[in-house]
């Protein structure tokens, strides 16, 4: 069993509060991803869990035991650093076996465990090499191997893929997901790349400026973002966020009028929305369609053709920009006038405080 709990955890540096009270639960064998823009505190939070940074306030519990004052090694955690942090003067085998050597494990036992980890990660041919002789991907695997060998309660990953090139990154994502299955371990993973978060996580924690913005499964965050920040951060390409005015509100939802002549009834709870109030309408590029009888009119400024899909940057009458995702075979030309429509079920409404209105119906994929 390996559960983790943070209770109102805080971190203060001199006059700056970097982590402002985080409460979180990590279940056994969960793959949790901390995601957020640079400076949001995700690495700091990870390092506090690891024991490399002091916790200024609140409690950290591992398996219901308070470990604020316990040293990093005794917490039963292992960490994979962003720069891998391999010992350059030791061989791969020694790197992986170092922790066991310090714990005075016998040589045979040590070799056995190192061999096992090397097998899982396909590092057997490299055991006698030094890190300097390995490629970036191989070094990363050694860093992971070093963690595996210790058989920790929780694995901590600090942006492990950010130093790899794009192709390798895709490959390693799959390998890490497979590793999670194989080892059946609890993992906490930090990244700024929301694609990694979406594809790998059981649970995503979105952080911004030291605060938790939302915790949920990837699809939950995608379909039901709690506020403007999460809505704009998760999902690529970025959600369109448009200023709108409430024109009616009732039991079926809130009707708003937006730029370019658009009008749509968003199926959310009408509580707190009065006619005339300013709100933000959110709709993802993939939920807009080009249709000759759409209510929104504009003209295409830029077409980003990726082959399989096309991103059209559309300018509406009042100069508001909208991004529409269409199929790659769409023939819309630049400067062409087009009409757009959106699917009401896939729209979002945010009040002037940035918080999302509750959808009347949850997306079926997010209901467990």
């Amino acid at each position: 069993m390996a559960t983790l709990a943070l209770r109102d955890v805080r971190k203060t540096y001199a006059n700056l509060e970097a982590i402002k009270g985080v409460t979180l639960d990590v279940e056994d064998r969960e793959f949790v991803v901390f995601v957020g823009p640079s400076g949001c505190g995700k690495s700091t939070l990870l390092r506090m869990i690891a024991g490399l940074e002091e916790i200024s306030g609140g409690d950290l519990l591992i398996d219901d035991r308070r470990v604020n004052d316990v040293g990093p090694a005794e917490r039963g955690l292992a960490m994979v650093f962003q720069s891998y942090a391999l010992y350059p003067h030791m061989t791969v085998a020694d790197n992986m076996g170092f922790a066991l050597k310090l714990a005075k494990v016998s040589k045979e036992e040590r070799n056995r465990k190192v061999a096992e980890a090397a097998r899982i990660l396909q590092l057997e041919p490299y055991l006698d090499r030094k890190p300097g002789q390995l490629s970036g991907g191989q070094r990363q695997r050694v860093a992971i191997g070093r963690a595996i060998v210790r058989n920790p309660k929780v694995f901590l990953f600090d942006e492990p893929l950010s130093n790899l090139d794009a192709a390798l990154r895709g490959q390693m994502r799959i390998e890490l997901a497979r590793l999670h299955e194989q080892l059946n371990a609890t993992m906490i993973y930090v990244t700024h790349d929301q694609v990694e978060a979406m594809t790998m996580a059981d649970k995503i924690v979105v952080l911004s400026a030291g605060r938790v913005e939302q915790v949920g499964s990837p699809l939950e965050l995608y379909h039901h973002p709690r506020n403007l920040f999460v809505a704009g951060f998760m999902g690529s390409p970025r959600m369109n966020l448009l200023p709108a005015t409430v024109t009616a509100s009732g039991a079926e939802g809130v009707t708003v009028a937006g730029p370019g002549g658009m009008s749509v009834t968003v199926p959310v709870s009408p509580d707190g929305f009065r006619v005339g109030s300013q709100v933000t309408l959110g709709v993802r590029p993939e939920h807009l369609t080009i249709t000759p009888d759409g209510s929104i009119s504009g003209h295409a400024l830029i077409a980003e053709r990726l082959g399989g899909l096309t991103l059209l940057h559309v300018e509406l009458q009042d100069k508001t920009m909208l991004v529409v995702q269409t199929d790659g075979s769409d023939a819309t030309r630049v400067h062409q006038q087009i009409r757009l429509a959106m699917v009401p079920a896939h729209t979002h409404l945010f009040g002037s405080d940035g918080l999302a209105a509750e959808h009347l119906q949850r997306n079926p994929l997010t209901v467990s």
Binding site: G51, A73, A85, L102
Partner: protein, 271 residues
């Protein structure tokens, strides 16, 4: 300018010309060492080399005694300085406090004390404690003179060990001593070595205390060479031979560690 052939040749000529001119006295010194005393007074390039001057240097003037003093004093002063400096630099690099900066700067400032300003009290102190003309006395003085630079250089080298490798060590369960033994020292060994080398060079070449605080028993090579300033009879050959022997090892050490020396010599003010 440097892209034309003429320009390239011109640069090479200039660069080599100046190098040759600068190195020439050393070259000549080495050359003259292989002349006999009679040949040495004749400034000619061509001659029959002989080792007679080298033999003289040892037989007439007991070169090895002075060399031994230099070695003992330099190595002793360096080891003593490292002994004090390694723990201090370790603490300052990894457990800095708000006082660390001031302490480091103050230490460096003690190196800027002109030796001649305290010539009198040091001389008298050495005399009264019986340390005058002893190797121990010089070792202590040299240790004190070089300690600031040694601490400073070690501090910079320790700080260059990547923080996350040390953190990985802590995650692996390394305590303080483990960290030092298995991670820090192996990684900073080149830095420690070049610091030691610089200290050796500074001790070996030091020519103020070594001239004033020694006379017969503890005199190192600097003093030995200085004795040639009032010689008897022909001495160019012996001077050259002795000088070559005194200078050669340091020259090699210096060439090997020139990159790292800059950091120690400018107290890090130039990167």
């Amino acid at each position: 300018m440097r892209h034309t052939l003429g320009g390239k040749i011109g640069l090479a000529v200039l660069g080599w010309g100046i190098a040759v001119v600068m190195f020439f006295p050393i070259f000549w010194m080495v050359l003259t060492g292989f002349k006999s005393e009679l040949q040495a007074v004749n400034p000619s390039l061509f001659f029959h080399p002989t080792l007679s001057s080298y033999a003289d240097v040892q037989s007439r003037a007991n070169y090895f005694a002075f060399a031994l003093n230099s070695v003992v004093i330099s190595v002793g002063g360096t080891l003593l300085a490292l002994l004090f400096a390694i723990p201090a630099a370790y603490v300052m690099a990894f457990f800095p406090t708000h006082r660390t900066r001031g302490t480091l700067l103050w230490m460096l400032s003690t190196k800027m004390l002109p030796p001649v300003g305290v010539l009198v009290p040091i001389y008298l102190l050495m005399r009264s404690t019986g340390l005058l003309d002893t190797r121990t006395g010089l070792i202590i003085i040299y240790m004190l003179m070089n300690l600031p630079i040694v601490v400073w250089m070690l501090f910079t080298f320790f700080k260059e060990v990547p923080r996350d490798i040390l953190e990985a060590g802590r995650m692996d369960g390394a305590g303080r001593m483990d960290e030092l033994r298995h991670v820090l020292l192996p990684l900073s060994l080149p830095g420690v070595a070049s610091t030691g080398l610089l200290s050796l060079i500074l001790c070996w070449n030091e020519a103020f205390w070594s001239l004033n605080l020694t006379s017969s028993r503890a005199a190192p090579l600097t003093a030995f060479i200085a004795s040639f300033s009032s010689p008897e009879g022909l001495f160019f050959g012996k001077l050259s031979a002795a000088s070559t022997l005194a200078v050669a090892p340091i020259l090699i050490f210096g060439w090997l560690s020139q990159r790292q020396l800059v950091r120690g010599l400018t107290f890090g003010a130039v990167k």
